[in-house]
């Protein structure tokens, strides 16, 4: 339909509607229906039919429900853009809100709230108040969501009329489960947004996690629809039970949900189980065993899309407990009918569960896929074999398999395999003999993909001794320099030719000359520079050049690139959310203002010091909030979106941590250099007091510079710490909030240690080897939250919490230590200091 035609049709529609508006002739409703349908179908495909607004409203004086509903739909679509016209509809909507039929009341109220027009809010409050008190559950449930809609149009008129209070009352006492569920989602959403500016709202939101609320929801759990059950479970997963008995009771109530056919209910239940048992290692393990069968059933019973969502979660669990699923590997074999996104996930599962006992079967199966007609899956399968080879000790059989791939003579198989063989050789140089014999047979003409070509060239250079025709193959590559489109290959070629030259000079010298001169003329800056560098080195001395270009290599033990365990833990905290599918914590992919309303304390801290409240940093009580901020935003720097979308908020929170750092760095400390341990002050001072008393920083630095780490005597018997303590971020924060600072400790890293401390990770790993775990860390300034636990301490006790701030310029580290048992704090401070002193000296 072209534009003119469309205009004509709309004008015609307009005329027809106008004619019908006043008519009371029999059959007029049917005619109206047809016209309305036409209008709605235009609206659906995106044609602008707003010009019919007044006619549509004029026609809407009807008792025909079908017409009414179409009219509501139309009005809801255009009201926001045409507020004056929307005013025309208020009258009949308000009237309908008082209809005798509860369905009409509900429909009208919903449409009224959906207008999204600010200056009509005054007409909304009354009907909403009546709606919440309506005798009919349907109307009340519409009204409960209506409150949320009102909040989004005009927050103040929502809160000023005490709607949240009414919702809370309904949440606890309404007889209709859908009303309860709607109150819960409205309240969560309203209070999360309010929480950005109001502490009271935050507390109110936390109060939804109160035992009474949780129990009242759980007691009537089965009445809820499956979707409402998911909502309630999400809230319950944030609840911390009073004791182990309560945990068990809750799990008993929810256990049969694991047999639900709806995967959303099952995953929400699993989240509750996993979170409830976080600090009960043995029960936690049993939960894993319990959820295995239901998850596998969901993978095969639902649609491919549902399998995908469930498999993503299985993958997360498998990464945490590969052993547990090791015997179920056959479930992850690809099916002929699986779409590629499911097959890919299954291949990852197979990679993850492979261990000594099942590797042979898994690799055999993967080899079948390598010959698959589906090229993408064939490639992924080969990569999977490679990954398994890299993570195993006994790779003998796998290497044979890889070499067989090369014999298949399919270009893409050869390409993938070459890349893998290269990686394998870097990790297991001892296999060079077998591999090189086969790689030597690969025709360089059949290798076209840049990655594969680079791999082949690397091997030619690295193993020039073993491959008799290496110089000649390289010569072929050099001669076709001009046709090589990828700088990656040309760079590798320069290096390989140079390495070959050191090993077999007479055969290679001419090729090297040719390669260098091609390199000088290369348009790519890196290639040019590398050629020039090699040339100068060679000119200077061939021995020096060899030492630089081809030094003896050590086998690579671990390839970098895996996600940090901290990121993984964050994703685990967000079980049953998009974070699991994307394998990114939500802060990496969500806009700051779009965090889920279901998130609790994790994000409340950061939002308190959001852009709205720049003046708050003077309040001592906000120190905790700042800590929360770091716990949340440790990796926020990597999130470029956070910077671009909320740069104001971001810089202000950075200022906070800086401020806090100076607070503690300037804190007074013992002047005596002879008693190093005494600089751990045993007076538990509140944080505010610490920041109020400032001494000269220079003096302090001088003091500490005089102290070598070796000077630290150990007047306390060394503490035995639990090597693998478990503490979830929520409990950490609670403890941090409850406990006072037992000790502060100063330590200065020697310069050579600071070289290794370019980011938080090295120290995090180092402390882990000393039984001190990292909860969160930040980079500018370097700041860490650590925790440790006494060995043999009962669950949830015997914890030490540490906040450590390091100034990179001076190497000065200051720690605040809090402990469940503060009498042990000095001994722990001692261990901490000795652990710190070992950093960088390894």
């Amino acid at each position: 339909m072209n534009a003119d035609n469309r205009k004509g049709e709309l004008a015609e529609l307009k005329g027809q509607l106008r004619q019908l508006a006043g008519s009371r002739a029999p059959g007029v409703e049917d005619l109206k229906r047809e016209l309305y349908k036409k209008v709605i179908s235009y609206l659906t495909v995106g044609i602008d039919v707003s010009s019919l607004f007044s006619e549509m409203v004029m026609c809407s004086a009807t008792s025909d429900l079908v017409l009414k509903k179409m009219c509501y739909l139309y009005v809801g679509n255009y009201a926001r853009g045409y507020p004056e016209l929307a005013l025309l509809t208020i009258n009949f909507l308000q009237k309908d809100c008082q209809d005798d039929d509860p369905m009409i009341r509900g429909l009208a109220l919903r449409s009224l709230c959906s207008l999204r027009v600010k200056n009509l809010v005054e007409y909304l409050v009354g009907p909403l108040q009546r709606g919440l008190k309506d005798s009919n559950g349907y109307v009340r449930s519409v009204a409960a969501i209506g409150v949320l809609k009102l909040y989004h149009i005009a927050p103040s008129s929502c809160t000023d009329n005490d709607f949240p209070v009414t919702l809370k009352a309904l949440l606890l006492h309404d007889s209709d489960p859908q009303v309860v569920a709607n109150c819960l989602c409205s309240l969560l959403e309203i209070l999360s947004i309010e929480g950005n500016v109001s502490e009271a709202a935050l507390r109110e939101k936390e109060s939804l996690l109160h035992r009474n609320v949780i129990l009242s929801l759980l007691n009537r759990f089965k009445e809820f629809s499956e979707w409402a059950q998911c909502l309630v479970l999400e809230v319950v997963s944030k609840y911390v039970p009073e004791d182990a008995q309560e945990t068990h009771d809750m799990m008993d109530v929810l256990d049969d949900r694991l047999q639900h056919a709806n995967s959303a209910v099952v995953l929400a239940t699993i989240k509750v189980f996993l979170h409830l048992t976080m600090s009960m290692a043995d029960v936690h393990q049993k939960v894993y065993e319990r959820i295995k069968a239901p998850l596998l059933t969901l993978v095969s019973s639902g649609s491919a899309e549902q399998s995908y969502a469930v498999l993503s979660h299985l993958h997360l669990l498998v990464m945490r407990a590969p052993m547990l699923f090791a015997s179920d590997y056959k479930h992850f074999y690809c099916r002929y009918s699986d779409p590629s996104y499911v097959k890919k996930l299954k291949l990852e599962m197979l990679t993850a569960v492979a261990n000594e006992s099942n590797t042979y079967e898994i690799v055999t199966e993967l080899s079948e896929y390598a010959a698959n007609v589906d090229v993408a899956i064939a490639r992924e399968s080969i990569r999977a074999v490679g990954k398994i080879a890299l993570q195993q000790y006994d790779v003998n059989a796998i290497v044979d398999r890889l070499l067989q791939f090369l014999e298949m003579e399919k270009d893409y198989v050869t390409a993938e395999t070459l890349v893998l063989v290269k990686d394998l050789l870097r990790k297991y140089p001892q296999w060079s003999h077998d591999c090189i014999a086969v790689v030597g047979n690969v025709s360089s003409k059949s290798v076209t993909e840049p990655k594969a070509k680079a791999a082949l060239v690397w091997m030619l250079g690295e193993y020039a001794y073993d491959m008799s025709d290496a110089p000649y193959v390289l010569e072929g590559f050099v001669q076709s320099w001009a046709e090589e489109d990828f700088a990656e290959v040309r760079l590798e070629l320069l290096t390989a030719v140079a390495k070959c030259f050191f090993k077999r000079p007479p055969e290679t010298v001419q090729i090297l000359g040719a390669a260098l001169s091609f390199g000088f003329a290369d348009a790519n800056q890196d290639v040019h520079d590398r050629a020039l560098l090699y040339y100068r080195l060679l000119q200077h001395s061939v021995e020096v050049a060899e030492r630089v270009i081809n030094p003896p290599k050590q086998a690579v033990s671990v390839f970098a690139g895996d996600q940090s365990s901290e990121i993984k833990d964050r994703i685990f905290d967000e079980f049953n959310s998009l974070a699991v599918v994307y394998r990114q914590p939500s802060y990496m992919f969500l806009d700051k203002d779009q965090r889920s309303p279901f998130a609790f304390s994790e994000d409340t801290g950061s939002s308190i010091i959001g852009p709205q409240s720049p003046g708050r940093e003077d309040l001592p009580s906000d120190i905790d909030a700042r800590d929360n901020d770091l716990l949340l935003s440790a990796h926020e720097k990597e999130d470029s979106r956070a910077v671009s979308n909320g740069s104001h908020g971001y810089s202000s929170s950075k200022f906070h941590t800086l401020q806090e750092f100076t607070d503690s760095a300037f804190a007074p400390r013992s002047p005596s250099p002879t008693q190093p341990i005494r600089n751990a002050r045993a007076t538990p001072l509140p944080p505010a007091a610490v920041s109020s008393t400032a001494a000269s920083p220079l003096l302090a630095v001088d003091d500490l510079l005089g102290l070598g780490p070796s000077a630290s005597a150990e007047p306390f018997p060394p503490l035995k710490l639990n090597p693998k303590p478990v503490l979830d971020p929520a409990s950490f924060k609670r403890k941090w909030g409850q406990l006072t600072v037992a000790l502060t400790l100063e330590y200065t890293f020697p310069a050579q240690a600071m070289v290794g401390l370019t980011g938080p990770q090295p120290l995090v790993r180092h402390m882990q080897t000393n039984s001190v775990q990292c909860m969160a860390s930040g980079n500018a300034p370097l700041k860490f939250f650590f925790f440790a636990q006494l060995a043999d301490a009962p669950a949830n006790t015997g914890f030490f919490l540490v906040e450590l701030v390091v100034t990179t310029s001076s190497g000065l580290a200051s720690a605040k230590i809090k402990a469940d048992d503060s009498s042990l704090a000095p001994a722990f401070a001692d261990s901490l200091q000795s652990a710190l002193s070992k950093f960088g000296s390894l």
């Binding site: 509903k69 019973s301 899309e305 979660h313 010959a371 007609v373 998009l578 599918v581």
Partner: protein
Amino acid sequence: MISQFFVLSLRGDNIVFRDYRGDVPKGSAEIFFRKVKFWQGEEGEEAPPVFKMDGVNYLHVKVGGLLFVATTRVNLSPALVLELLQRIARVTKDYLGILNEDSLRKNFVLVYELLDEMIDFGYPQTTSTEALKSFVFNEPVVIDAARLPSLGPAALFIQGSKRVPGTSVTKSVVANEPGGRKREEVFVDIIEKISVTFNAAGYILTSEIDGTIQMKSYLSGNPEIRVALNEDLSIGRNEYGGGFGGGVGMVILDDCNFHESVRLDDFETDHYLTLVPPDGEFPVMNYRMTQEFKPPFKVFPVIEEAGPFKAEIVLKVRADFPATVTANTVVLRVPLPKTTSRVSFEMEPGAVGQSTDFKEANKTIEWSCRKIVGGSEHTLRAKLTLTQERNANIKKEAGPISMSFTIPMFNASRLAVRYLQVVKKSKSYNPYRWVRYVTHSNSYVIRT
């Protein structure tokens, strides 16, 4: 909460579009469709059901040749959204009888009525077909099933939509029968999808049955129903392919799950499922079984060289099920060496309802048999002409063979509905009760 919901045809047309929150830009349907259609990945990949672009998360399912899509800006549970989309599709099907582009276009106003009640401001409300009845005032325009191109039952089992009825019951839950009154009936379908992989020597490598007991009720007054399953049923076998345990000859399920209307009071002891079936179609129980079973088809492929530029493939298929049962729409696919230029087929003498095809583009032969009677054997001979002289093993170049089929009134697991009882006081009440079995191939692969 979700921001928008829309249904697109496979050509990308908006059939239904509903914006619930107004926080996602208007062009989202188009952006989504372009992304799905030109999914950037390696060869032959399709877009995953969940992805994100410019801060908007897109979740979709494919049902009945349509794309059901939701967008959101918050970190929702993907399982919840995908289940919800699937449910919306199912409820729509309950009302329209048939779910396809045509029926949706003819009934989009009714679909808006449903959507209004199923989702409010992005939060799921009620999705029960029954509860929604009182909110739907449009009469469905029912599409005549006979007018649909006759696809045969297998055609309904389009890839990606695993949960579909055994045979198409295409009645709307609200439309009246031509006679004016509703027929009292209830359908129970035991639908099994079987996956078997044979190795080159003909032995079974893996086998699994994924089953669903599906119900579709048109009973008035919501009577309670009792479904009695095998007496020799046991549940809970976790080790894949492990030993048989105690009960030889028993039906042993690895695991199962149930619809929320199902009461399991008598399940442990008497193997009854008791439920008050809601209106519409729903799975009563899903189950999974890795216990060994006899595969319905055995394929004996012979692949050999027949000269420097020639090869020959002989496929023999044996139907290992009773002669009273007939399999429908059996198709075997064999990928051939890439150098194949021509194929000539030789069918067995007197072959009826068979056809062969050489798909040049992906070098695959397809052999279709409209019907295969239990106990029978069929053979196909294919002569290949190759453009290159082969020296490597031709077996490595051809295969694996995959097979698809539908076998009505047959189930490999032997799980059975002993009886279906409508618990209702009136003696005269005797509704139609249909119990049907059907087995589909899910992944039936014979390696060469």
